[in-house]
C-alpha cells in the first residue's frame, strides 16, 4: 500500500511538472463549454425572405408586411423576376421566396380561392421545412383575420405543455453531450498517449522491472488522471449551472457517480488503445478518431438515436458516451433517481470490465 501511494505521488509530480499540458487539460473544457453552450442552437432564425408580387394589392402587401415584421424573418427586398430570384437562391443569399400569383386579391374574393407559392432553399432540409412552416402559419393567421373571426364549429384545440424544458433551450440538450464528448477526448488521449510515450522511450521497461505488480502499477498511473478528469467534469458542471443556466434537478451525488464511472470507462478505453499501438502518432490518431466521430454522430448528442436505422442504433449502443449522455440527461434535466439510470450504469460498468479484460490479456501476451 505504501509503495502504491508512493507511486501515485510520483505520477502526480510528473503531471504537475508539465504546467503547460495541465493548463491545456483544465482550460480546454472551460472554453469549449462556454463557446458551444451559448453558440450551438438548433432554432431556425434569421430566415432571409424576399417577395415576388407582380400585381400588389391590399392582401398581398398585408401578408408581406406580416412576414416582414415577424422576428424570425429578415427581409431582403422585393424581386422583380423569377430569374432574379432563382439566381439569388443559387448564390445562397436567400432562404425563402414568397411568390404571389397575378391578381391575388381578385381571385380570392371572387372564386374564393387563391394560391401562394413558398419556395424554400432546402439544401438544409430542417431549415427549408421549418421556414415554410413559419410562413404558412403567418399566412393562415392572416386568412383567419380576414374572415372576421366567425366561430368555426367543431374545433379541437390542443393545449401544449413542454415538460422538463419549458423554455425550449438548446443548452438543455447539448450540455450533457458536450460533457460526454470533451471527457471522452481528454481521458482517452491523456492515458493512451502518455503510456505509449513511455513505451516509445523505453521508460516502461524500467517500471516493469520494479517490484510493484503490473496491474497495480497501471492502476496507480491512472489515478492522477482520474482526479484531473473529475476536476474537468466539476468545472464543466459549475459553468453549465451558473453561466448557462442548465438546472441540476436530480441528486448531485448521483451525477458524480455517473461521471466517475464514465471517467473510469474512458480512461480504461485509453489504456486499451495504448496496448494496441506502439507509436504516439498512432495513439493520437486512433484515440482522436474513435473518441470524436462516433460520439458526434451516434451518441444522441446531436442526432436522436431513435431516428437512426436499426443497424446504427445497435452500433450506437457500443458507444460509451451514449449511455453517459442518457444518464446525465435523466438525472440533471429530468431529475430522476438511481433506479431510473440502473441500466445505463450497468452497461458502462460492463464496458469497463470488458475493456479491462482485453487490456490485461494484451499486456500479458506482450510480456511473454
Amino acid at each position: 500500500m505504501k509503495q502504491f501511494i508512493a507511486f501515485v505521488k510520483k505520477e502526480f509530480r510528473h503531471i504537475m511538472r508539465d504546467n503547460r499540458t495541465l493548463l491545456i487539460i483544465l482550460g480546454m473544457p472551460v472554453v469549449e463549454i462556454l463557446l458551444f453552450g451559448f453558440a450551438i442552437n438548433m432554432e431556425v432564425q434569421d430566415i432571409r425572405v424576399a417577395f415576388y408580387d407582380p400585381t400588389p394589392d391590399a392582401f398581398t402587401t398585408g401578408i408581406a408586411e406580416r412576414i416582414r415584421q415577424n422576428p424570425y424573418f429578415n427581409h431582403q427586398g422585393n424581386m422583380y423576376s423569377m430569374d432574379e430570384m432563382n439566381a439569388s437562391m443559387r448564390k445562397g443569399e436567400l432562404d425563402l421566396a414568397v411568390v404571389f400569383p397575378q391578381n391575388f386579391q381578385e381571385s380570392l374574393v371572387h372564386s374564393g380561392e387563391a394560391a401562394v407559392q413558398l419556395l424554400s432553399n432546402s439544401s438544409d432540409p430542417n431549415r427549408g421545412s421549418i421556414s415554410t412552416t413559419y410562413a404558412s402559419a403567418i399566412i393562415a393567421k392572416f386568412q383567419q383575420e380576414q374572415i372576421d373571426l366567425r366561430q368555426i364549429p367543431f374545433q379541437i384545440q390542443t393545449e401544449n405543455r413542454m415538460i422538463y424544458n419549458p423554455l425550449m433551450k438548446s443548452s438543455y440538450m447539448f450540455v450533457p453531450g458536450i460533457m460526454g464528448l470533451v471527457l471522452m477526448i481528454i481521458c482517452t488521449i491523456m492515458t493512451s498517449v502518455s503510456i505509449v510515450r513511455e513505451k516509445e522511450r523505453g521508460t516502461m521497461e524500467v517500471l516493469l522491472a520494479s517490484p510493484l505488480k503490473q496491474g497495480t502499477m497501471i492502476f496507480a498511473k491512472t489515478i492522477p488522471y482520474m482526479i484531473i478528469s473529475f476536476v474537468d467534469f466539476l468545472i464543466i458542471l459549475i459553468l453549465s449551472y451558473f453561466i448557462l443556466g442548465v438546472p441540476v434537478n436530480g441528486n448531485l451525488l448521483l451525477l458524480f457517480l455517473i461521471a466517475l464511472i464514465y471517467i473510469i470507462l474512458t480512461l480504461t478505453y485509453g489504456l486499451t488503445v495504448s496496448t494496441l499501438v506502439d507509436k504516439q502518432v498512432n495513439a493520437v490518431i486512433v484515440s482522436a478518431i474513435t473518441a470524436m466521430i462516433p460520439v458526434l454522430m451516434l451518441s444522441g448528442m446531436i442526432f436522436p438515436v431513435d431516428n437512426m436505422p436499426r443497424v446504427l442504433q445497435a452500433f450506437s449502443s457500443i458507444i460509451p458516451a451514449r449511455w453517459f449522455i442518457e444518464a446525465v440527461r435523466k438525472v440533471m434535466i429530468q431529475g430522476q433517481g438511481f433506479l431510473m439510470i440502473g441500466k445505463e450504469l450497468f452497461i458502462m460498468i460492463g464496458m469497463t470490465l470488458f475493456l479491462l479484460g482485453i487490456t490485461i490479456a494484451k499486456t500479458k501476451k506482450r510480456l511473454d
Binding site: M42, V44, V284
Partner: protein
C-alpha cells in the same frame, strides 16, 4: 529547389513507414462516408406517444386511431391515468402524452368545440416543438372531418356562409433538395470534416515528433531555410488531402449518386485552398507544442471549435453575434457552405468566388504564421 525536392522525398518516406497512415487515408474516408450519413437526421418520425383517454367515446377512439395511423407517431400505450403515462415518460418509454378529457364527445357535438391536453418531453427542443405541431395538425384534420360529417346539425343560414369561406392555398416547393433528404445536406459536411481531421492532426504531430525524437536538432544545424523546411513538411499533407478528396468525391458518387451539380473542378479547387489552410494551422500548433500530448490536445481543441461552430451541424445564422464573428474567420464554415452550394444548389465557380477569396486569405495568413513561428535554434 533541389533541397526542397529531397526534403519532400524524406517526408513521404517517413510518412509511409507508418503502416497506419495509408490505411487512414484510404479506409477512413470510405468508412465514414459509407456509414455515418445514414445516422444524421433531424427528421422527426416515430415519436412514441401515450394516449390517456378519459372519454372512451367513439370520437376519442377515432382521434387515437388517427394518431396511431400517422407515420409521425408510434402508439406506445393507453394507460388509465396521467400518472402512469408520466411514469412512462420518466423511464423514456414514451416521448409524448395526449390526454383526452371525459367530456370530449359531449363538447364536440353540443358545444362544437373541445380541447385535448398534450405534454411533450422537450429536452430535445426541436423534437418537442415538431411533435406538438404534428398533433395540432392531426387535431385540425380531425376537426375538418367532423365538420363535413356534422355540418347538417348547424343552422342553415350559418351553414351557407361557412361553405363560402375564402381559402388561401399554400404550395410549398423545396428547392435544391425536394425530398428533404438529410444525407444530401450532410455529405458535403462530412467531406470537410474528413479533410479537417486528416490534414489537421497529421501536421500537428509532425514537427513536435521531431522535437521529441531529437531529430529536429540535426535539421537545425543544416543550412536549410525556414521556408524550405516548412514547405517540405506541408506539401506531403497537401497531396494526402487531395487524395482524400478524390476518394470522397468518388465514394459519394458511387454510393449516393451525388455529384457537384455546379462544377467538380470548383469542388477540388476550393478543397485545395482549404487543405492548405488547415495544414498550416496544424504546423502552427506543432511549432508551439513541446510534447505530442500537448499538440494532440491543442489540435483536437481547435478541430472541435472549427467543426461545431462551422455550420455543419447547427446553422451559423442561429448563433449569437459573437459566434457569427468567429465564423467569419472559420475556414470550415466557408468550405462547408461552398461544398453545399456546389453540390446541392448547382452554384457555379463564379457564385462561390467570394468564399474562395476569403479561404485563400485565411490560407495565406495561416501559412505565413506557420513559417514565422518555426524557430530554428540550436
Amino acid at each position: 529547389m533541389k533541397t526542397l525536392k529531397y526534403l519532400i522525398e524524406k517526408e513521404f518516406k517517413q510518412m509511409f513507414r507508418n503502416p497506419l497512415i495509408p490505411r487512414l487515408i484510404v479506409l477512413f474516408p470510405t468508412m465514414v462516408l459509407l456509414v455515418f450519413p445514414w445516422a444524421v437526421s433531424f427528421e422527426v418520425k416515430n415519436i412514441k406517444i401515450d394516449v390517456v383517454d378519459h372519454s372512451k367515446s367513439v370520437y376519442s377512439k377515432r382521434l387515437t386511431d388517427k394518431i396511431a395511423a400517422s407515420h409521425y407517431f408510434n402508439l406506445n400505450d393507453t394507460p388509465p391515468d396521467y400518472r402512469t403515462a408520466m411514469m412512462n415518460m420518466e423511464t423514456g418509454e414514451t416521448d409524448m402524452i395526449l390526454e383526452i378529457p371525459a367530456s370530449f364527445d359531449r363538447d364536440v357535438v353540443k358545444a362544437r368545440t373541445s380541447g385535448v391536453g398534450v405534454a411533450v418531453n422537450a429536452v430535445n427542443g426541436t423534437q418537442g416543438l415538431l411533435g406538438s405541431n404534428y398533433i395540432m395538425q392531426i387535431a385540425n384534420d380531425f376537426s375538418s372531418d367532423l365538420r363535413d360529417e356534422l355540418m347538417h346539425t348547424v343552422p342553415p343560414q350559418s351553414r351557407a356562409s361557412l361553405m363560402r369561406l375564402p381559402k388561401i392555398e399554400i404550395i410549398p416547393q423545396y428547392k435544391f433538395n425536394p425530398k428533404l433528404d438529410y444525407k444530401n445536406f450532410m455529405i458535403p459536411g462530412f467531406m470537410v470534416l474528413l479533410l479537417t481531421i486528416i490534414c489537421g492532426i497529421l501536421p500537428a504531430l509532425n514537427i513536435v515528433m521531431e522535437k521529441e525524437n531529437g531529430t529536429i536538432n540535426q535539421i537545425n544545424v543544416t543550412p536549410i531555410s525556414k521556408i524550405n523546411f516548412i514547405l517540405a513538411k506541408l506539401i506531403p499533407y497537401w497531396v494526402v488531402g487531395i487524395v482524400v478528396m478524390i476518394i470522397s468525391i468518388s465514394v459519394t458518387y458511387l454510393i449516393y449518386g451525388l455529384w457537384p451539380a455546379g462544377s467538380a473542378i470548383a469542388v477540388l479547387f476550393s478543397a485545395i485552398v482549404f487543405i492548405i489552410s488547415v495544414s498550416g494551422l496544424g504546423i502552427i500548433i506543432s511549432n508551439n507544442s513541446e510534447t505530442m500530448q500537448q499538440a494532440s490536445f491543442l489540435v483536437m481543441f481547435f478541430i472541435l471549435i472549427l467543426v461545431l461552430l462551422g455550420g455543419m451541424f447547427t446553422p451559423v445564422s442561429s448563433m449569437p453575434t459573437w459566434a457569427q464573428l468567429i465564423a467569419t474567420i472559420n475556414p470550415f464554415n466557408y468550405l462547408t457552405e461552398t461544398f453545399r452550394m456546389l453540390y446541392l444548389n448547382g452554384s457555379t465557380l463564379a457564385d462561390v468566388s467570394g468564399n474562395l477569396f476569403v479561404l485563400a486569405l485565411i490560407a495565406i495568413v495561416l501559412n505565413s504564421w506557420a513559417i514565422l513561428s518555426y524557430k530554428k535554434r540550436g
